[in-house]
Amino acid sequence: MANTKKYWSGLDELDGTDAFQEIQSKEFQEQIPVDKFLADEKLNSTTTGRRDFLKFMGFSLTAATLAACETPVIKSIPYTNKPAEITPGVANYYASSYYDGMDYANILVKTREGRPIFVKGNAATGIGAGKANARVIGSVMELYDKARLEGPTKKGEATTWSDLDTAVSESINGNGRAVVLSNTIVSPSTRKAIESLGVEHIQYDAISYRALREAQAASFGVNAVPHYDFSKAKVVVSIAADFLNSWLTSTQFAPDYASLRNPNGGSQSKHFQFESVMSMTGTNADVRTMISPSEEGKVAAGILAVLKGGAVSNLDAKLSSRVKAAANALSGSKGESLLIAGTNDLSTQTIVAAINQLLGNYGTTIDLERPSQAFRGDESAATQLIADMNSGKVSTLITYGCNPSYDMPNAQAFNSGLAKVSTSVSMNGVADETASRSTFVAPDHHYLESWNDLSLRAGRIDLVQPTIEPLFNTRAAQESFLVWSSAENSDWYTFLRSQYNGAYTSDALYSDSDWNSAIHDGNMVGNNLSESPNYTASIETSLAERKVSKVKGGDMELVTYVKATAGAGQHAANPFLQETPDPVSKVTWDNYVTMSKSDMVALGLNTYIAQEDLATVVKVTVGDKQIELPAYMQPGQKPGTIGIALGYGRGSNGENIGQAAYQTGEKGQHLMLDSGLPMPIGVNAFPLTSNSEGNTIYASYDVNIEATDREYPLACTQIHNTYMGRDSVVRETSFDSYLAEADKPKGKASWNMAHALNVHDDTNHDGVIDARDKENTSEFDLWHSHPVKDVGHRWGMTIDLTTCTGCSACVTACSIENNVSVVGKDEVLRHRDMHWIRIDRYYASDYSLEKGEDEGVGVISSYGLMEDPAENPQTVHMPMMCQHCNHAPCETVCPVAATTHSNEGLNQMTYNRCIGTRYCANNCPYKVRRFNWFNYKGHSKFENVNPAHDSLARLVLNPDVTVRARGVMEKCSMCVQRIQSGKLEAKKAGTAINDGEVVTACAEACPSNAIAFGDLNDTGSQVRAISENNRSYHALEEIGVQPNVFYMTKVRNVDSNEA
C-alpha cells in the first residue's frame, strides 16, 4: 500500500526553502509593486497636480461616455463569388498529414472561412490511434508567421521566380557538381521530383538514427529503421530512448504504449527506463534507473549477458540488479517485449538488435518487413559533402527541408563551405541560418498550403492537401525542382496526381473518385511505392560487446535531448510552443543545463529558482567548444551527468526567423546582445554533438563544467500554485495492491478510500460516539445542492493519472482552441501565465512506511526517511484545470455574479460582467483561475510574443471564443463553444447527443486517451462509467466542492515494496 507516500510539487516544497515558504503563505504570489512604483524617481518631478488629475479624469469620463453614444458602423463584406463548400460561420475540416523530418502525424485541419485555425490528430483514418503531439498541434501558428519570406530572394534582395529559375537551372546544368541536401524525404513523388533534376541527393537528419539503421543492416540485411509496435509490448525496456516524446516517430508510440497501461482489465505493461536526464518517458517508467551515457552500452550488454545465462559485468551492484530485473522481465515476456536504445552508437544498437532477436520480438513487436521510411539520413555522406564544399568541388547546393547551418555538429565547416559554393539555393520558408547564407532562397509553401504524398511505411500513402491559398509568392519546392529540371509539365499537382493515375500505376488503381476519396480520408492503401524487404538474421555481437565494455566515462558527462515543445529547432519562433512548459522541468522559453542536486551543491550553484532567485550560469566545455547556460536542478538527473536541450539558440546571427524566437525584456522589447544582435532564446547545443564512426553522437563522455558569476532568470512554473501540503490531491498505488482490491466498490479500496469526516453521531452503531464515527464527505453540504444530477446534461471529465504521460499536447491544444494569451517569459516569471490547463508534476519519495517496517526502521525514522530528498523520484503528472465544482467556492464570493453555475454543471465565466476583484481566484482551491493583468492583444509589452498583435498572426484566433479584455478573470470553460455547437448539431439531427460527439480540445488532443469528456448524466457514457470506477476520486475531496472532474488513481506496475 502506497497511500502513506508523500508528494511534493518540487524539491522546493520538500526542502521547505525560504522562497517556497514565503509563496506558500500567500494566496497571490506576486506583490503589488507599490514600493517599486513609489521608488520611481520620475514620480517626484511630475507636474500633474491634483486639479489636473481631476480634469483628466473628467475629460476621460466624458470622452468615454461620448464615444459610447456613437453607433459604430461595421462593414460586412460577403464573398463576391462564394465557394460552394464554404458557409460563413461553419468550420470545414480537411484530412492532411504532417511531416517535418522528425514528427509524423495524420491530421485534421479545421478551417474557418478558408483559414486554418486548428490542427488535430485524424483519429478516424490516422496511423495507429491517429494522434498528434504538442509540436504538431502548435504548427498551425507557423503558417501565420510574418517572418515568412514573401517571395524568392537573391542575396537577401527580392527577385522574381523567372530570374531565379534561369540562374539556378544554368548553374545545375553547368559543369560543376550539383547536390541536393535535404532531410529524409518520405514522399515518393517528391523523391521523383528531385530525381528529375538528375543530380546527387544527400539526406541527413538533425536527430540521426543512422546507427540503429546500420545495426539492422549488419544483423538483418535491411538498412532501415524498423517499425515498433508498442501495443503488443507487455514489457518495455528503454535505454535512454525518449519514445513518448522524441524518439523516432513518437506520435505513433504514445497511444500504443498507453493502451497497455490501463490496469482495469487486470493487466498492465511493465516499463523499465535507464537514462541520465529525467526524460518525459522516464517520468512514466515503472522502474527508472539512473545511468551515465557511457553506461548505455554496458546496460545493453548486461541484459544480453543475463539472457544468455551469464552475469552483468562492468556495472555497480545496484545497477546490476536493476539490469538483471529488466532482463528477467524481458525473458518472461518473449515475443511480447521491446528493448530500445536511444543512442546513435552502432555497437549498442547491434547488441539491442541481438537481444530483440533472441527474445523473438522481430516479427511481433518489431516489424522489419514494412520498416519505417523515415530517418534514412546519412551524416557520413553529409560530412563528405562539407569537405567537398570546402575544397571547392561543389558549384550548386540546394538545401531543402533542413537547416544544416544550424543543426549540423560541424555547422561552422558547413558555413565556410557554403560560402565557397557559387550557387547555393535554400528552400526554407524563412530567411533562417541556412537560407540567409545562401545565394538564393526559393521559399517553399508552408505544409498547410501544399500538396504532397508521404509514405511512412510500405502499403500506405498519406496525403497532404492545401487548406489555404498560399499567403505569399512562394512555390512548392517540388515545383521548383520540376522547373529547374526543365520538365515538360512542371505543375507540381499534376505531377503528383499523375503518380496515381491508371497510366502510371499499371493496374489503373486510381480513378478520380478513388483519388478524391483518398484525399477525403487523407490516405490511400495498396500502392506499393516502398519496398518490403526480406530479412535474415545473422548477428555477431562479440565485437560490439568488446567495444561497449571499453567505453570510459569521465567525471562529468553530457547528454543532449529534445524537448516536447521546441523540437530540434523547427518551432523556435512558435510562441504557443515556447510558452508551453516543458513536461518535466516546467521551464518555459529557455533551455538550460539540467544537473543533479549534489553536483550543483558541489559547484556552489543556486539550486532553487524563483522570480527573485536566479539560476547560476555555468560554462560547459566539450573539447574546444564552450557554451554558457543557466543550471537547473533536475531531480532524477544522474549525478555526474548534465543534460542540455537541443533546438534552442535559433537565429543567433540576427536572422529574421520570427519575432517570438528572440528574448524579450520587461517592456516587451527584444533584448540585445553586446554585438547589437537580438538575443536568441537559449543556446544552440548542436555544436556540442560530434561525429564518430560516421554517426552523429549526441552525448559526450567527458565535459568540464564550471560556475560563472552571472545569473539568469528561468521562467519556471514549477512551484506555482501549491497545494499547501494537502495530500489528497494525488492518489497512487502499485499494481499488485490494485489487483488485491480491484473488485472493491468505489470508496472502499485502501488505495482510494472515500474521504470521511468525524461526526458527533453514532454512525457505526457501537453505542459510543467517538473518533470512529465518521461520515463520508459527500454527505455534507455547506451549500444548497445544485440540481444538475441526472437532469439535463452534466458535463464532466475524467483523467486517468495512470495513462497521462505529461506530454502537454492538451496544454497547446487548449491554448490554440481558446485563444489563450501568450504572455512571454517576463510575465511567466511573475507567475502570470494564462494557461487554462496546466500539468502539475509531482515528485515522490521512494521511501514508505511499509518499506521502513521491512527494513526494521522505526516509524518516526521512516517518516524522516520519507522526507529525504529523492535523488531519483517517481513522478506523477496531473492535468489540472477548472474542476467545475457543483459547490463552487468561486461562485459564492463573486460580488457581481460574473461566475455562475449552469444547469449543465458548468462553472460559467462571464467576462463582460467581471470587474476583476479576483476574489474568485482567491477562493479557488485548485488555483486554476487566471487574471488578465494586461490588454495582451494591444499592450506593446506583448507585441513580440502574442499572436493577437499582428494582423497576420491574428488569423489563427478562434472566432468562436472571445478574446478576453484586460481586468477580467478567465479559466477553463470545458470548451463551452464545442458543447454549444455539439448540442446544436444534435438538435438539428433530432437525436440525443451520442457519447464522444462533444469533446474538449484537451481530451481530443490527448495521445494516451487519459482524458475523457462527456455527459455524466448519460448512463451509457464513458465518463459516467469511469466516474463510477473504484479508481476514480475527486482532487481535494475533503473540502466537499463536488467537482465534475474525476481523477483516476495512478497505478504503477511495481511490487508494493518497490513503490
Binding site: I77, P78, P88, A986, I993
Partner: protein, 480 residues
Amino acid sequence: MYSIDMKKPMNSRLIRVQHLALAICTVLFFQVSGVGAQSIWEAGDPISGQTLFNTNCASCHKITDEVLVGPGLLGIQDRWGSSDEMLVQWIQNPQEAHESGDKYIKGLVDRYVGTYGWMTAQAVSKEEIGDIMAYVSNPPEVLGATADASADCPTLDYDKVEESESGNAIWFLILFVLFITIALGASGVKRSLTDVLAEKNGEALLPDSSYMQRLGGWIWNNLVFVSLLGVFFVLYLVVAGYSALMDIGLYADYSPDQPIEFIHSVHVCENEIDCKYCHHSAYESKHAGIPSANVCMNCHKAIKKGKISGTAEIEKIYAAIGFDSNSGTYIDGEGEIGNLLPQDSYDGEPIKWNKVHNLPDHVFFSHQQHVTVGGLQCQNCHGDVSTYSVGRIAPVEEINELVDAFPGLIQLSKPTLTMGWCLECHNKAEVDLTSNGYYEELHERLNDSERGNEELRRYLEDDKITVRELGGWECSKCHY
C-alpha cells in the same frame, strides 16, 4: 433616405391559407377520382410542390405567361412537347438533355438560352419534379390575386425629398433668434421711451446698466416665478438626460445607407423571394449572412434593369463580380469577355455593406439554433422585411403589431437587440419537447422518477417548458 409608406401589405398569411386549402382540395380530388396514372403531370403532391417551387424555381419562373428569367410556366402541361423523362432530365441537367438531341429541347434552347443563359441544373428528384408539376399545372386560382398583391406592397416614394427633424430644428432656432432680437429690441425701445418719459417728467434717468444687470434685477423682482421655472427646468434636464442615457446602445430604426440601394420590398413582397434564398446560411450557420454577388447574379444575369433605380444599382453588382451586361457574359481576370460563370480571377472590388444588426463581440448568437431548431419566424426579430427598403432594425412596437399577420410571433416589450429583449423571449418561448429526439431524451431524464430531480420537476407543473427552464438564461449559452 427614402421615406416609406408604411401601408400594410395584404394579409399574405391569408393567401397562404387559401393556397393550402386549394392544394388540399386538389389532392382530395385526385384521390377521390382515382386518377392513379403515373404520368409526371398527375401523380405529384401540389403542397410539397409549392414549397419546392418557391425554393428552387420561383426566382426565375412565374406561373403566368410572363417571362421572368426563364419562361412563365402557365400551361406547361399542355405545351410540353417531349417525354416526361426528357422533362426530368432537362430540369436535372439541361446541357445533357440538349446533347440528347431532342427536338423540343433544341427549340427551347434556341429560344431562351441565347438571351437568358442556361438554366441552372436543379438538385431535385423525379418525384419532386412530379410534385412541382402538380403544383404548376394546377395554378391556384388566387394566383391572380397574388400577382396583384404587388399593388399591396408598400409604395416607396422616391421623389419625395426627405424632411428631417433637423430641418424643423433649424426653423425653430431661427424663430428663437428672431424672438430674442425682437424682445431685446422691444426692451431697448421700452427703455428709451421710459427714459424720454422720465426726462420729460424730470425724474431721474434709469441707471445705465447692462442687459445682464437688468436681467438680474428682473429675476430678483420675480423670484418665485423664476424659482418655479428653474425647478421645472432642472426636472426637465434630469428626465431628458435619463432617457438619453437609456437610449445609448439602442438601435431601433437603425438603417444605415448602403452601397447598393437594395429594396427588400421589391424582392420580398413583389417578387416573393423567400428570405432563405438569399440568406440561406441562417439555416445552416450562426450567421444569416449577406448574400454573395453570385447569388444576386442568379436573377440579375437576366434582370438588368430595376423597377425603381434603373440600371444604376444593378450595375454595381456587375462591377463587383465582373459581368458584362451587353454580352450577358462574365469577364475574366484578363478582361476577356465571354465566360458563362463568374471568374475567380476577376479582381473586382467587393461590395462593402454596412452591418445593420450589430451585436457586441462577446455575444454568440446562432441563427440556425433559432430558425432551424427553434422554428422562429424571421419576422419575430426583423419585423416585416417585405416593407423595407434597405435593411433596418425594427422597433419592438412595430414587431408586436405584426402578430395578426404572422400568428405565433412572440410579443415582447424590451427594445430590440438588447439583452433584456433576448431574455424576455427566452422566458416566454416554449420548447417543444416531443418532436425532436434531442429534447425527448432530456425530457425523459426529467420525468424519470428514479433519477429526476425534485427541485427541477416543478418545471413540469405548468405543462410547458420554456427556453429559460432549459438554461436559456445562463450566461454561457451566449457568452463564451
